[in-house]
Subunit: 417 residues, 2 copies
Amino acid sequence: MLTFDFKNVFSVGDHGLLKEPDMSWFPQPSGKRYSFYDLPENGKLADEIAEFAREAREKFDHFVLLGIGGSALGARCIADALASASERGRLIILDNVDPALLSNATAGLDLARTLFLVVSKSGGTPETVAQYFYFREKTEATGLKATEHFVFVTDPEKGFLRKIAREEKIRSFEIPPEVGGRFSVLSACGLLPAALLGIDIHGLLRGAARQREGIFHTSFQENHAYQLAAIQYLLWKERGVPMTVIMPYSSQLSTFSDWYVQLLSESIGKEKNLRGETVNVGLTPVKAVGVTDQHAQVQLFTSGPFDKFLLFIEVSESDFDLKIPVMYESEKDFSYLHGVSFHQLLLTEKRATEQALTQYGRPNATVKISKLDSEHLGMLFMLFQESVAFLGELCGIDAFDQPGVELGKVLTKRLLS
Amino acid sequence: MLTFDFKNVFSVGDHGLLKEPDMSWFPQPSGKRYSFYDLPENGKLADEIAEFAREAREKFDHFVLLGIGGSALGARCIADALASASERGRLIILDNVDPALLSNATAGLDLARTLFLVVSKSGGTPETVAQYFYFREKTEATGLKATEHFVFVTDPEKGFLRKIAREEKIRSFEIPPEVGGRFSVLSACGLLPAALLGIDIHGLLRGAARQREGIFHTSFQENHAYQLAAIQYLLWKERGVPMTVIMPYSSQLSTFSDWYVQLLSESIGKEKNLRGETVNVGLTPVKAVGVTDQHAQVQLFTSGPFDKFLLFIEVSESDFDLKIPVMYESEKDFSYLHGVSFHQLLLTEKRATEQALTQYGRPNATVKISKLDSEHLGMLFMLFQESVAFLGELCGIDAFDQPGVELGKVLTKRLLS
């Protein structure tokens, strides 16, 4: 079960919204389908990946993902949210070219028991290609048959990685060409690393498919994605609120925020609108995690400028039943903690923070899932992707391109050539 | 060596500053000393901690830090920046009450070889006390003499932890009462966990002391901390720029940003000014890391609203000499990568991103350190703490309190009682 509670957007007077947004801008009745909609239907791909993973989990101890941006963020999020403690350690994600990371994260690795996942939608991301060269040479230098230690996730036709995969018969999985990197978590991009950690990838797709049903609802009450997009849009347009704080009360969802940071930043941060006019729009995502950030950022959220919308994620039930024991009974200051479960403490602090923020006039809302499992994570992915696509429509921009990063790429090449 | 290059604040036309800030508001000639100034002088404490750590490193395999906010962020930053790959794994930081974190992070731990660091300035942080109860009981339940497996870092006189330390003769270290949590990284708060990982804590203090010399310079050219504070202040006042993006090009400094996020958020985000007037000021820190975020947030930074100041951190030399090998020579698209070191690629991408952002009219500046070692990290800590203290003076607010988090604490207690 996934619910979206946004009453506190209307409980903060002039700092929030005064009435419910209507459906007048709702883009869906036009029948437009976004590229990521059909990914949950690809059960055949999931079967194929699961089968590959079954074998690879026997043959290899570690999986090293070479990839950056959308090629890494979804995988890390799934692993952190769903993998058990012992499985999580099997996946190493190298999403930077910093040699300190490459060296430290792979120190002591047994290459004979390591599989490298080279993930690049275009098949030619320079950072990823550089890492591939490095680890390919390293693997061969130990006398291993390199092609057996690499698997590619890339475009079905184009790009350097696809060419190499064909020529050297390296096992590969496809990212549909029409699906952009930041919307690719439910493609092989996210599913392959997930399956390698023994995660139920069919559950991810099932949850996403279920959540997707809400997209076409033309009743405001039924369409969570449109609710979220409309609230963000109106808070920005009517109240000048340019930031969305994404704050899961869950350490396992801490990197869900990183995934959302890319999704919102790259999709909505645009110089031009669809008519080609210079608009320089964008909402800035701010990452936080509860309860931790109550001791770091909440002071700013309660007391600083009225420039933020706070979006909580709450998980109703926990798999971990840990209780605070009764100790030092004479210390009355802490008797309220005795016998309370840690999950109950977490949820209570969330409720208290939400109430405090509302009292301080800060608009906030909560996405609540009943538990953190594959299905519910799939629902979250779909909800947030949909809401960002809708937000793009409301802002009148193309949510699926990223022209503002080209100049940096060109300059890098020029400086090195 | 630490330098601060802010020429790109003046190279972006109307979006940046038109002339150099002057020293007219400079607060230091009044002789005011901030609470954190004297920490680098405490060589005796560092000796004591180093001696304790020498023994503890023999007796224990793992160190579990129970603490939140300022009690955890500095320790994590130091560990990530300076510990070797094998040492880093010995420190587990539990800065949340999420039972999933408590359970996963301590799975398989041998309690007989584990030391718990309970870190709380007030000695009564509820989250930390709850964790203490939990692990204290767990340790005793295995038949261990619990007092030998705990060390406290807390106020010298007041609070629950101090009382318990006295009564049960638990080894403890002091945080000077006048030093706030977010300014405590150079107290036992940061030094103890650092020393337990074999890090040169005297170097941290030496670097901080060296950087501190710049504080009292009344020449703008010599005073990096004032330069940074004045730039942030003027970009906010004159250009309406409410966000500082902190973007180290270093995976090891990724959590330095988390430390700075707390420092800037809690210090400057204030409802009232020093005259008691309601002002709701605050600058919002946005965390990013290079090169990774070129594939996640840079699209927004180049193309979105003109609401951000970008602050890079660059490390000139790397300890890790890894080269991109020459492979697939016929693929001309990637020949520019051949033979380039990963560190050179990292620095070149930084330069390219900086140039692109400047061309897009985005004010940016770079703090450059020659290498990442204890001394230079100490310099960074002192520079950023000073600049935030100065910024508080410029904004006319108290940078050292956090009244905006009290309501949440009260509500939590009420909801649980």
